[in-house]
Symmetry: C2
Subunit: 408 residues, 2 copies
């Protein structure tokens, strides 16, 4: 008998029929003798409907009141799923985030979980109940309703699994696992049986939006065994997200190719090469609430250097504006930029112990005539910025070059 936490997203509970399907799946796990806690999101479209309604009243909805409002989406789903479970003869009971109680800080619309009181859930589980918990929400010390931000239901699932010391946290979604890359771009992409937390973090932050990144961090921190599965298929083991050291089987060198078309690059040319210059450039950018992703600075010569970074494409114009003043102030020669770029990344823990990954990647791109504009590396990732028109080509040739289309 295992204790399983299952999380179902908005698409998986998007209609009464789909909710009944979830109930059937839960019933099978119960029939196999397992204890089950289910975390659900709002029915697909509901959160957006509520936000739109709020904006009809207040252009910038008050964060506290917005949380009171959007948290109703999950509250409806927990009731419906509990009814479906009861209707199929199981014992079931729903809880809002506040009832569990999932204690958070008071940062409305993006709260962080501080603690979870698992006693009530455990008593219910021991009494044979399926416990159904609203994802995405909690309550602060003063009893105000809070939400964890978009995708926060994944975090709720992982946090409950951690609090209950569950044997596994299963994230049911509309894909059946984590792939070596997006199958829409590379039809030969394969589902990974396992991926490490570090790889998952790099993949998630690079646009493979299977799991919310905070939930992966959380799972890593509390050593929760996390599995991504499809809620639309009855078979398949999905992808297990593992701790590297637990991994007995031969680890593939490269796990996947991630990509993003959401960025723009900016280069400040002819920057005086002196201490503090990076801060002088990026300080004002941060003050303008712009998040910076890749940062590249090369060795300078003749007392000056070039400084490049990428931002979200939506922030491109705003960032150029900010830098106009900055460039004058620091006596830079020129500010250049471009928003027709893509970032492609090779991710794999095997990089740590295998040399030559970078050169294979660069040679592969060169053979296709793809020019690399920026390069940035971490211990388990190599990212390149290229012209966006070559993105699909780059993903395909790299996928093949690292043998990702071959059965593991």
């Amino acid at each position: 008998m295992a204790l399983i936490v299952q999380k179902y997203g908005g698409t998986s509970v998007g209609s009464p029929e789909r909710i009944k399907n979830v109930a059937r799946r839960v019933a099978r796990w119960r029939a196999d003798g397992h204890q089950v806690v289910v975390v659900v999101s709002a029915m697909s479209g509901e959160t957006n409907r509520l936000i739109a309604l709020a904006k009809e009243i207040q252009a910038q909805p008050d964060p506290r009141e917005l949380d009171v409002m959007v948290s109703t989406g999950e509250q409806v789903t927990i009731a419906l799923l509990s009814m479906a479970l009861l209707d199929s003869g199981l014992k079931a009971r729903s809880y809002t985030g506040g009832q569990v109680r999932i204690l958070t800080d008071s940062a409305f619309t993006k709260a962080r979980i501080l603690s979870i009181d698992e006693q009530r859930m455990r008593a219910d589980l021991d009494a044979g109940y399926v416990v159904v918990v609203a994802g995405f929400q909690g309550v602060d010390e003063a009893g105000n309703i809070t939400t964890l931000g978009r995708g926060g239901s994944d975090t709720t699932g992982v946090a409950l699994a951690a609090a209950l010391k569950a044997d596994e946290c299963q994230i049911y979604t509309d894909v059946d696992g984590v792939y070596t890359t997006d199958p829409r771009i590379v039809p030969e992409a394969r589902r990974l049986k396992t991926v490490t937390f570090e790889e998952m973090l790099e993949m998630a932050s690079l646009g493979s939006k299977v799991l919310q990144i905070r939930s992966v961090e959380f799972a890593g921190k509390y050593r929760v065994k996390l599995r991504v599965l499809s809620s639309f298929e009855d078979h398949g083991d999905g992808t297990l997200i593992t701790f590297e050291e637990d991994e007995k089987m031969e680890q593939a060198i490269i796990s996947g190719i991630a990509f993003s078309r959401d960025e723009a690059k900016i280069t400040v040319l002819g920057v005086p090469d002196r201490p503090g210059i990076a801060y002088q450039i990026l300080g004002p950018v941060g003050d303008a609430n712009v998040d910076v992703d890749m940062i590249v600075q090369n060795v300078g010569h003749d007392g000056s250097t070039d400084f490049s970074f990428t931002v979200h494409r939506n922030d491109y114009v705003k960032t150029l504006d900010v830098l106009k003043n900055v460039a004058t102030h620091i006596k830079a020669r020129e500010v250049q930029g471009g928003d027709k770029i893509a970032k492609v990344s090779i991710v794999g823990v095997g990089m740590r112990s295998h040399a030559g990954i970078a050169s294979t990647a660069f040679r592969t791109l060169a053979e296709e005539g793809i020019n690399i504009q920026m390069i940035s590396t971490s211990e388990i990732k190599i990212s390149v910025v290229i012209d966006e028109k070559y993105m699909e080509l780059a993903v395909r040739v790299l996928h093949k070059a690292f043998g990702l289309d071959q059965p593991a």
Copy 2:
């Protein structure tokens, strides 16, 4: 400076525009220096939408889970109204029933309020906030969400007014007060400036559905000054519901004519006239979950009597079925009935001190050739059962006979 509790029903908050109107009205009360607590219902149609969704999952939705679900309707409204108040520059804060906290028993879908913790509201009011509370809902000792049953938002309003010792509880609705009778039947019907709690109870239970009857009982018990007003008009004082003894002005003898077409009558003929016979007839009816309204038994003769009562028209056939066996058992001669009846009632505390009301009523009906089938009286009410085709006529002539069409 007064402390006012205002309650707005589903129609009054049925759209973003109407919610903004409510905010404007609240703002005027604040501008006049009053402290305001607002209780709101779900947006019109929302509760029915949620119940329909629940029934797609479970034909008879589980009561606990149904309460979790339908309580979201008011939760959305409190957030929207708070946003509208904030948007108009007021300080405002929303609370669910559980947050206030409105403690109820655990009778899901028809819970009763046990106590209200008014400290948090009072602190907010003293800090200049408008307090917006979800009607219709509460929380039981174990922290489960409960609802008070249909129309329960009125009860929430009155209960909050009682707990806060508010100066007045204002119920905003789609009519501008309590009328001498339904203006759709008698165009000359007048709005009553005042009506006593006892009269209101008789009127409400007789089909003048301005206020939920439990809220009126509650207001009477806790001596809450209750006023019914229109949420669609900016002027008018509505109808104040008073305690008789508080009333300084000359009280009208009759306050109104109420009527109902929802009933059916049943007569058990030739019942042996012996103790316990009423219980032998009505016991099985009650066991079948049928509520009995009027009960009439006349003096018997020759050792037998006739026993009549009315039930809701929907229960008519079921009640006849039940009585078939009963009649045989108690050796009654025959069971008769009819569902083409109407009940018309004259209500007024003035009856206590004025003779001749009944004879005026009976003469008025006789002059129009309207036959009276059953009569039942209380201290402040005379009800007659007549053929339903005469209902409108009876209401009109009685309204005129008691001078209700004349300015008070």
